[in-house]
């Protein structure tokens, strides 16, 4: 286990040396201890098929500079800091306590002594980075706007708050220690001051999806297992088909990348809690205890969408979440979900301000999230208990390799 203080003794990691440091300190794979480092570099960004960590700090930035060079400089500085922090090192080369006493430290210090904690930092670019509201090319990259980054349609029942939606650049920090995730976002936001401004951010606890077969399926705040049928790291054929952007699928800079959709879904906890077990299970289409589809015995049994009960009606109701979200209902649409529960305290009425911060990665939202959400928005019985309050769409480029940096191919 490498702690920040020990790792410092091994020598600093600059932007130029990040690939080497990654190789020296880290091994990739599904069996890391919760404290280990996850490789920052690679063909795909970490934080997508990486076994879902327990904690999230997600941030969306507005770019406030008009200067392309300044934006590029920040992306480079971010990359260097991200490489260091994911390796369990301080954000800056000097460190939290080793600088001049008169200078503010180049790392904020709250992660001193904490291990890397499987921290991953995943960057994505929103449609508004390419063109402003008037259609103007902001940074000379409008020609590289992928068609798949077309703004999401309005879905029936959307109650989106613009102030916590969208954004020009998103960074997802996932870690097994909440302090490590918060530390990462805080330091990146600080580095970006003057170039970017935090538009909104979200803390999440308790992963609601498993992204590797070795992980048990966790539960969301409705008390149900969530993400049973998720795409998993080991399903390479399915990942190629549904998750990663293949060559020729839009602009080159996205080859090997993936599209990220976020939705903050407030759950109306108190009314849900008073609904009967039978109603809850009918709404979800699964048994609450085992997670098995209604009419089946095991969690991973395939839901039988044609099964009919003794009363002659569908065993899994036509309005059940599992049916409406099922690939068979949506032209085979699949996504890799890695959402998190959130509780933002209580609202002014004494109700838990809580729900699911939904995160999904996919090859193309137009054939992934959009048809599934259309289907859910139209008929899902669960809509009575949820409100979509924030929405985000971001193009996550492939991983950083060699001396590369976040967005290098986009800004090339």
């Amino acid at each position: 286990m490498i702690t920040r203080r020990r790792a410092l003794a091994l020598g600093g990691v600059g932007a130029a040396g990040l690939a080497g440091a990654g190789a020296a300190l880290i091994s990739r794979g599904g069996s890391e201890a919760v404290t280990d480092a996850v490789a920052f570099t690679g063909p795909h960004q970490a934080g997508i098929v990486t076994p879902a960590q327990d904690r999230l700090h997600f941030v969306a930035f507005d770019v406030v500079t008009k200067d392309r060079e300044r934006l590029v400089r920040t992306l480079r500085e971010w990359t260097a800091a991200a490489a260091r922090m994911t390796a369990g090192l301080d954000a800056g080369e000097i460190g939290a306590v080793d600088g001049m006493p008169e200078a503010p430290p180049d790392d904020t210090g709250e992660a001193i002594g904490l291990p890397a904690s499987a921290l991953t930092l995943t960057v994505g670019f929103g449609p508004t980075l390419f063109r402003d509201a008037t259609g103007k090319d902001r940074f000379g990259i409008a020609g590289k706007l992928p068609a798949a980054l077309e703004p999401l349609p309005r879905f029936t029942g959307d109650t989106l708050d613009e102030a916590i939606s969208g954004g020009d650049i998103a960074i997802q920090a996932c870690a097994n220690d909440p302090q490590v995730a918060v530390h990462a976002i805080r330091n990146l936001a600080r580095i970006g001051m003057g170039t970017v401004s935090v538009r909104w951010s979200q803390l999440g606890f308790g992963r609601t999806s498993s992204t590797a077969t070795g992980q048990a399926t966790p539960r969301n705040l409705f008390g149900f297992k969530d993400g049973t049928r998720n795409l998993k790291a080991e399903q390479e054929d399915l990942l190629r088909e549904h998750l990663w952007v293949p060559d020729g699928d839009g602009p080159d800079w996205m080859t090997g990348g993936s599209y990220l959709v976020t939705r903050k879904i407030r759950m109306l906890i108190e009314t849900w809690d008073r609904s009967s077990l039978a109603e809850q299970e009918a709404i979800v289409g699964r048994h609450k205890g085992t997670g098995a589809p209604l009419g089946a015995a095991g969690e991973f049994d395939e839901p039988d969408l044609t099964a009919v009960g003794a009363d002659g009606t569908d065993l899994i109701p036509a309005t059940a979440h599992v049916r409406l979200a099922h690939p068979d209902t949506n032209n085979g649409a699949r996504m890799l979900r890695r959402g998190y529960n959130f509780v933002d305290g209580s609202d002014g009425l004494g109700r838990l301000d809580a729900g699911l911060f939904f995160i999904a990665f996919q090859r193309d939202p137009r054939t992934g999230f959009v048809p599934v959400q259309r289907s859910l928005a139209a008929s899902d019985e669960m809509n009575e208990y949820v409100r979509h309050v924030s929405s985000g769409l971001f193009a996550c480029p492939p991983g950083v390799t060699g001396g590369g940096w976040w967005g290098d191919r986009l800004f090339a």
Binding site: V64, G99, M100, E102, A103, P104, R190, M193, G194, T195, S197
Partner: protein, 374 residues
């Protein structure tokens, strides 16, 4: 680029820069330089002078109160004279090493002023590093003295208006008097209780002490409109301000204090002004905001020769970010003053916050640059 000889001698002990009135003109090479200031013009009789002491004789022929400045590059104030009422003349003595400068009249005492070029020829030996730091503190001392003089004058007017029961005039003078206070507040903070006594807000009044100073009178003016009992508080304010002025003028600040003061002023903006906490009754926070920026700029300007020598890239960044703050804040001007805090939208406040963050991060690095042994 700034020529090296500009690092040269800023007048050590040139208190003359702040003195005004009468004699001494005959000592200056070529006699006094007439400056005709109006509301729209700033006519400087000569734009080429020799190195050494120059005297500017400023006559305000306009309708607005004006100021006159001599700036070195980066708006470092070499000398200034404030509060020249319409019809009045004032003399300004300033010792200038060779280099390129700007003169400025500021009718209405706001904005960048009406600028003109001033070329000073001659030569001087470059300063040693320590001498450059000494020059920085001297330069800032001149600034403090000019501000304390105006602070005392404007506070006296404010106090007189309050004691006369003139609510409208008191309200108009409140943000003006505070401007001089807010520009140099980090200096005032050195003197223990004086800062909270003068400028403390109600909730920070310590147990056993009475809420007084600027903000108590602000509360009386705006909340109740009754200043019939504010006289003793106004008298105490005047006494406290006089004490601050005396102490501030005697204080010798270190270069590190200048650097930290420049940052502290931005912290003031970020934590007190953007939130509307400072002037919660009058909502004149943007006046204070602008004054804090002025003060921060003055401290950095004094350090500029040192910073340019040691970290020219940082100076460039600071110039850019100060300009950005000025432009962002400038959107909220109202006449010669500022919009009320309550007239700003959340988006306006966010934009101002972003601009302050972008400036405060690089300013926080100045202290280490100053402290570094060359």
């Amino acid at each position: 680029m700034r020529p090296t000889n500009l690092l040269a001698l800023l007048t050590l002990g040139s208190l003359a820069a702040c003195s005004s009135g009468g004699s001494g003109a005959e000592q200056a090479a070529g006699g006094p330089i007439a400056v005709k200031a109006t509301d729209t013009g700033c006519e400087v009789a000569r734009t080429q002078v020799d190195a050494g002491t120059s005297v500017f004789a400023i006559t305000n022929g306009g309708q607005k109160v004006t100021e006159f400045y001599v700036y070195a590059p980066g708006d470092r104030v070499m000398a200034e004279v404030e509060n020249i009422a319409p019809g009045l003349s004032r003399n300004l003595h300033v010792e200038l090493p060779a280099g390129t400068y700007e003169t400025a009249c500021k009718p209405g005492m706001t904005g960048k002023g009406i600028r003109g070029q001033l070329t000073v020829s001659g030569s001087a030996a470059p300063l040693t590093d320590d001498a450059a730091l000494l020059a920085a503190t001297d330069s800032y001392s001149r600034y403090v003295k000019s501000q304390t003089a105006a602070l005392e004058e404007k506070t006296a007017e404010f106090v007189a208006a309050v004691k006369a029961g003139d609510v409208a005039k008191s309200k108009a003078l409140f943000p003006v008097a505070r401007t001089y206070w807010e520009r140099i507040e980090p200096v005032a903070e050195i003197f223990g209780d004086l800062d909270p006594r003068t400028d403390g807000r109600e909730e920070v009044t310590e147990e056993g002490l009475k809420f007084g100073g600027f903000h108590k009178i602000e509360q009386d003016l705006w909340q109740t409109g009754d200043i019939s009992k504010s006289g003793p508080i106004a008298d105490q304010l005047m006494a406290d301000v006089k004490e601050v002025v005396t102490k501030a003028n005697a204080e010798k600040l270190s270069p590190l204090q200048l650097a930290n003061g420049a940052k502290a002023l931005l912290d003031e903006v970020a934590s007190g002004k953007i939130t509307g906490e400072e002037d919660r009754y009058s909502h004149t926070d943007l006046w204070d905001f602008n004054a804090n920026i002025d003060g921060s700029k003055a401290a950095i300007a004094s350090l500029r020769p040192v910073l340019e020598e040691r970290d020219p890239a940082l100076v460039k960044t600071l110039d850019t970010e100060f300009a950005n703050v000025d432009a962002t804040l400038g959107k909220h001007r109202a006449g010669d003053g500022w919009k009320l805090h309550t007239d700003l939208s959340q988006a306006d406040l966010k934009e101002l916050t972003d601009a302050i963050n972008a400036l405060a991060e690089p300013i926080s690095r100045v202290a280490a640059v100053v402290a570094k042994k060359a």
